[in-house]
Amino acid sequence: MSSAIEIRDLHYRAGKTFEIRDLALNVPTGSMYGFLGPNGSGKTTTIRLLLGLLRPLHGTITVLGGSIPREGPRVLARTGYVPEQPHLYPSLTVDEAFRFHSAFYPTWDWKWADELLMQFQLDRGRLLSRLSKGEMGKLEMLLALAQRPELLVLDEPTDGLDPVVRRDVLTAVLEYVSQQNATVFISSHLVHELERICDWVGVMDRGRLVAELPMHSFKNGIKRLRVVNAPALSGDTPFVVLSRETNDGSAETWVVRGWQPTMSQWFSGVGATLKEVIDLDLEEGFVELLRTFRVPQA
């Protein structure tokens, strides 16, 4: 399986308090990769590093087969980027923004740009400074899509948008992916949004990648278990115990990762009883994952 984005041993520091440490990340070609993490976890910094907007202290970044930052321009010509904050020149009109942006991308598709313009109901003559947040979000997405990129890097593209605009924007992305088989790297802290559209997920917290796995494994692998007569854990469990809470008496609630139905036999082997296996949605799994990650290591 080839990778659209491959990051190895990445280290970056900004100021005295924030750093990205030993980051390794792999985005399969053709996937929709959801990059999850709370605010301030390092998602935007990682995106800026992988686009060559920031320089790492060390580590390797390969995007679409090109080394970043050495082959940055060649890679950026094939990458559509929607940043967290609107980055276009506000003194231009929508039409002028089109003309400016299209001049830099040889693969720019005018026909499709016009179609998207109609679909998003944007006024060509309107100044960018007069656009609403939703209209600006749609324009940013339009510019990224109309360049027909092989890779779309979307940094919280729907943050602060109303549900209608959010749906429009995500629908346009999904349509594009279905046509082009492009790779999408989308960061968000809106877990439910990614749950519906992504097939891979990476979770970032405090500058480190906490987990990276296929979405179905993430969704299905994290469970809440009700256990009676729970044993002391010696570290030989077939799953990863993320948290463990005593309820009343001998009953405990465990949150585990890497769960498979056959593992229920393990409990009878250690003298415990598994009373219930409860599915967690992505958000609950995400919260439990972060909670475990943040417990100080002894």
Binding site: R74, V75, A77, P83, L88, L92, R99, F104
Partner: protein, 217 residues
């Protein structure tokens, strides 16, 4: 790509360019308005005085228009923290070069205006015997002054706020050191020497000093 960059820069600085072009065209005409009728010794002296007096405004105009165009070239990128510029698929030096070239192209308008204004003014004026018109040389000098000031301030405004802070901090330290040293009785003139380094040949701003004469001996 150049056309796209040129268009944005035109949109951001067109008012300044238009005003500078009008001023550049008008300055030579205003400087020779006294040279209409018969000319004697006193009229000749008056004409030279007027030309020299108006001539002070050429370096002022060159500095003002070049400074504003240089700052405007980077201002929108600064506001957007350069994210857009850096995410465009071209090397940074190439982008900076395109921005520089676009600004320099726009600045050609006031330079041409000074040249045309100079030709028109000197063709309409009654130039006394022994004096000569230098519209082309004046325009070349104006163009050089514009280019030098533009290049320097383009480079300065391309830097980050932190770089500007370091620059201003260093300047403040020099002035503070000089003030303290002079208060203690030492005769130190660091700031004056620095200024002389800039405005006396081979300093870059030497082009702005001296007499700017459309008509001279």
């Amino acid at each position: 790509m150049f056309r796209a960059i040129l268009y944005t820069q035109w949109k951001w600085s067109r008012l300044v360019i238009l005003l500078a072009t009008l001023a550049g065209f008008g300055l030579p005409l205003l400087s020779v308005q006294g040279a209409r009728g018969p000319v004697g010794y006193w009229e000749t002296r008056q004409l030279l005085g007027a030309v020299q007096g108006w001539g002070v405004l050429y370096p002022v105009l060159a500095t003002a228009v070049a400074l504003i165009v240089a700052m405007v070239a980077w201002a929108p990128d600064h506001r957007g923290r350069h994210v857009y510029a850096l995410s465009l698929p071209l090397p940074r030096w190439h982008y900076a070069l395109l921005r520089f070239a676009a600004g320099a192209t726009l600045l050609a308008a006031p330079v041409v205006a000074v040249w045309l204004g100079g030709i028109l003014a000197t063709s309409m004026a009654a130039i006394p015997t022994g004096l000569h018109a230098y519209p082309t040389m004046l325009a070349v000098r104006f163009g050089l002054a514009v280019l030098v000031v533009y290049a320097i301030f383009f480079a300065i405004s391309a830097g980050t706020v932190r770089t500007a802070g370091y620059f201003l901090g260093a300047l403040f330290l020099v002035v503070a050191f000089e003030a303290i040293a002079n208060a203690a009785g030492a005769e130190i003139h660091l700031f004056e020497k620095m200024m002389l380094l800039l405005i006396v040949w081979p300093g870059p701003f030497d082009v702005l000093t001296g007499r700017w004469m459309l008509i001279d001996v």
